[in-house]
Amino acid sequence: MRQPWAVGFAAGAAALGAALALLYWGGTYELRLGTILAMYIALASGWNLIGGMAGYPSFATAAFFGLGAYAGALTQVKGVPMVFAWTFAAVVAGTVALAIGWIVLRLRGHYFAIASFAVVIVLREIATNWTDLTGGGMGVSLPMLQLSMLAQARLFFSAQAVLAALAVAICLFVAYSKLGFALGCIRQNESAAGMLGLDARRAKTAAFCISSAIMGAAGAIYASSIFYIDPSDVFDILLSIKPIIMTMLGGGGTVAGPILGAALFMILEQTVWANFLSVHAAILGALVVVIAMFLPRGLFGRRLRPRLA
């Protein structure tokens, strides 16, 4: 690709056009699919910051998604307007990520992966057992909206799409900033990066916080759009795995990779869901195995430039 910026602008314009067309002509079903796709793009791009760019195998996506979902849902139940609740959820997820990151980001490799797994389980158990605040296993019901189904579908699609655009913009910005350079150094050789005077701790904590804030916002919008959440739904470990697969599929560490991967994964997932309901988990599993075995660098990984598209 000779002119990555031109291609990038063209792709961005096409995506904007598609989103507007969907808003104008799409029915509730198409809008739902669009909402899921936008959420996947946001999650994959968010994971890409820590997992792709810094090379830290984080499984904590579900933790911050669930945390954001609960933070957003509980503030909305208290009567806070939706947009503020979503922002609040992002702030909560980012702040908690700061504290958790301080502990887990000093680990590497398998140990980091396990610790990030454990974060999901601890938060899920807390949400399940802190019944006074979260309603426990009964979940939380959100206030209904006085809007038609179509208007609701449009609203939540717009929200997730704006978040996805924001996540991609953040990835782009980070990729071309000093932070992105630092993350690349960490991925290649963290000890050497530290030796050259790079504050690796600060860089990866920043990436972890930003990525968690995106995941938290995605969770909060998700909670608003389905009106009911419970711990096993929003702290589902599959939510941690899917963004990894998407990013792998498209090519980790690039800005365009997670977007392409999310779209491709979405198509595969919907096909499987529609045709093989009782064995869809097994087929998803087989897909995951095949992708990780044969395409660890992604379909487009070699053709995409390391930074942009």
Binding site: H110, E125, V279, G285
Partner: protein
């Protein structure tokens, strides 16, 4: 009362040690965290249930067959899938074992449904009372059998040619290959042993708890925590870690209520990882 809590913790710890020893072996030898491990435990439980339900065989009698079958399943996974990605990055092997876990779990759900299955042999030993202490004998036998198998793994790794080959591969893959060890075979053997121990633990757990596909996450978490507690890749560490975790869960359950016991163990896990990632015993070798 305190003695009772400690005893329950010890009995739980024996079973935990058996689950974790195989997990730790695989992690140490192949540098693979096997996310399938919890499901292998459940698979062992179901095989024992089938043996009991259809053939009327007591789980303790069916134990070798169950261990063998689950071990073969593990070996075939290694040959078919994981053997191709030896030395791949952490993320790749983690994702692959997760995919295999999804497939196996889906299979179990289709085969057995999500209901709990219980194994209740017509003869049970009941409980013995020693000085006010209730000793559940079935549970004691299950824990002892689990510990005996863990000890057998230890002896195998220490004394047998196969065990020495596995350890050699763990220490230095290239050097072991130069010394005539078939590295591929050692990997398959390690996976088979690990899976066999998981299956056997599942059959024993079936004697104590109801069996359900939903438990595999819990067993996987247990294996993680025990490995981190006891240090990676040592059988002795798995036993120490298993007993410590069993005691910790039992005490936490007694003081804070049973529903909070698992939070305690996972918080323990994160804190330990943060402070002593090399484990409580803190040695990186192998024994």
């Amino acid at each position: 009362m305190i003695a009772q809590v400690l005893l329950n913790g010890l009995l739980l710890g024996g079973l935990y040690a058996c689950i974790a020893a195989g997990f730790s072996l695989l992690w140490g030898v192949m540098n693979v965290i096997n996310l399938l491990h919890g499901t292998l435990v459940v698979l062992g439980g179901y095989l024992a249930w089938m043996a009991f339900h259809f053939l009327g065989v007591h789980p303790l009698v069916a134990l070798p067959a169950v261990a063998f079958l689950v071990g073969m399943f593990g070996a075939s996974l290694q040959v078919a899938v994981l053997g191709w990605v030896v030395g791949a990055p952490v993320l790749v092997t983690l994702v692959i074992t997760f995919g295999l876990d999804l497939i196996t779990r889906n299979g179990l759900l289709l085969g057995f449904g999500a209901d709990f299955r219980t194994i209740r042999p017509s003869w049970t030993l009941g409980t013995a009372e020693v000085g006010g202490l209730k000793i559940p004998l079935d549970r004691t036998i299950a824990a002892s059998a689990a510990l005996a198998m863990t000890l057998a793994l230890y002896l195998l790794l220490r004394r047998s040619w196969l065990g020495r080959a596995i350890i050699a591969v763990r220490m230095d893959r290239d050097a072991a290959a130069l010394m005539g060890v078939r590295v591929r075979h050692a990997f398959v053997a390690a996976f088979a042993l690990s899976a066999a121990l998981a299956g056997a633990a599942g059959a024993l757990l079936g004697l104590v708890f109801p069996i359900s596909p939903l438990q595999s996450d819990g067993y996987l978490g247990t294996a993680f925590t025990v490995c981190v507690l006891g240090g990676l890749g040592s059988v002795v560490g798995a036993v120490v870690g298993g007993v410590v975790l069993g005691l910790a869960e039992s005490i936490a359950g007694f003081m804070l209520g049973a529903e909070n016991a698992s939070i305690v163990s996972f918080v323990l896990l994160i804190l330990l990882l943060a402070m002593r990632p090399e484990g409580l015993l803190g040695r990186k070798g192998y024994a």
